[in-house]
Amino acid sequence: MWTQFFWAFLVGGALCAAAQFVIDKTPFFVSSAHVLVGVVLFGEIMGFFGLYPRLIRFAGMGAAVPLSGFGNSMMEGVFHALKDEGFLGIFTGAFTAGAAGLCAVIVIGFFSAIFLKPKG
């Protein structure tokens, strides 16, 4: 268990540090939207080759918490649906797998924005 904590910290931190490196070395200003798009695509491509699930088994939340984990789970969802439903699964898998995350972001985001105020 303790080694899992260690690897979660190390892998999660390393993914963030790598993203920071790309941000700082990009010649133009990148917003968090740009960064997150890159991270999600990274997760999907790693998931496509079956590498990301291995990283999650190894580093646990260190790989699941960065948004690349979200990309990977959408990719996995597509593969699962493809297996179960055939061709149509390509179009249902991503949302099925991402449902919990997306739903939470929408609902929690909605209520946070309603009840809280921007501080500037």
């Binding site: 200003f29 917003s31 968090s32 921007p118 501080k119 500037g120």
Partner: protein, 332 residues
């Protein structure tokens, strides 16, 4: 005397007084004791940031009229501007007043543009007095021009902090201590800077162009001024301006200063310095007038610099056209 939009006013035009209202961060800066009113929060008692900015403009003009013992009916013209789409702020603030109004937009050069126009009209004899009021607000501009204020992103060291402030000046033909001697209308200069965070670099060539034109029109050198004060180039823009001027063999020394750098202490985490239309407006209408009163300066050249960018132009990857207007002030 007129030469290609450089004017030297033969009729006397004076700055009768000024008032500045600022936000909390500016109220912790080095100039805090010179401001007339400091808001405790960037949103005080109003339902939106925009309405807070309108209130700041209202307060600035009210305080100015009180200080100069004037009133709406005795002012011939209101010149005003801000940074928000279609001059939303100024239009509402001006709507509360009984003064004929012209809205101006020159980004952070709006105060200089206002002084220039007001003084020209007074010099021509069309009006006797004019109030110039200009404001900006950190949160209203950030959300319009860049990203939401609560977004957790890092900004580069060369970006600038938009000032929350409103400044108002009363221009008049009646004799007082500070005379508007002349001015030079700037040209739009575009050296191809595209980074919307790097406004100092975008504006420096415009400032250099206007300074060179004004000095050559007046047959002066930079030695003839006690202070050449740019409006919001920030540390970075000021350094670039000095480099550009040195190439033209102008002595660019400590007399070159920047309002955006005066506004904050370096430790206030404002990157290259303050910017925003309210920055030069509030510094000029408070601290600078005070310096004149204390006889610190005799002749000052104000350079209002504006980066004429919009979310559309930046989004489409265009360069940032910039402008600078010069206003020459003299202690009488």
């Amino acid at each position: 005397m007129i030469h290609r939009s450089s004017f030297l006013f033969p009729a006397p035009v004076y700055i009768a007084g000024g008032a500045a209202v600022v936000g909390p961060k500016e109220g912790e800066g080095p100039l805090k004791e010179y401001f007339d009113k400091i808001y405790p929060s960037i949103q005080s008692a109003e339902e939106s940031w925009e309405k807070t900015e309108i209130a700041m403009q209202r307060d600035a003009v009210n305080l100015l009229l009180k200080k100069t013992r004037s009133e709406d009916r005795r002012v011939d013209l209101l010149l005003g501007g801000d940074l928000i789409n279609q001059l939303t702020i100024t239009n509402f603030a001006a709507g509360e007043r009984d003064i004929p109004f012209l809205g101006l937009y020159n980004a952070c050069a709006t105060m200089a543009e206002g002084i220039l126009l007001g003084a020209s009209l007074i010099n021509a004899g069309y009006i006797g007095s004019s109030v110039v009021v200009v404001s900006s607000h950190n949160a209203t501009s950030e959300r319009q021009f860049r990203y939401p204020t609560e977004l957790g992103i890092q900004r580069p060291s060369w970006s600038q902090w938009t000032v929350t402030a409103a400044g108002a000046l009363l221009l008049s033909s009646a004799l007082s201590k500070i005379r508007v001697r002349g001015c030079t209308v700037g040209r739009v200069v575009d050296y191809g800077v595209k980074d919307a965070n790097d406004m100092g670099a975008a504006m420096a060539p415009a400032a250099a162009d206007t300074i060179l034109r004004h000095l050559s029109f007046r047959g002066q050198s930079s030695d003839d001024y006690d202070l050449i004060l740019s409006g919001d180039l920030g540390s970075r823009g000021l350094d670039l301006l000095k480099t550009l001027l040195r190439k033209e063999e102008i002595l660019a020394d400590e007399r070159f200063q920047d309002s955006g750098r005066w506004m904050y202490f370096p430790k206030q985490d404002v990157f290259s310095g303050g910017s925003g239309a309210g920055c030069s407006a509030s510094v000029w209408s408070s601290y600078l007038l005070n310096c004149f009163r204390e006889k610190k300066y005799r002749r000052v050249l104000l350079i209002g610099t504006g980066a004429l960018l919009s979310t559309i132009s930046v989004g489409q990857g265009n360069t940032i056209p910039s402008i600078a207007h010069a206003v020459e002030l003299e202690r009488v």
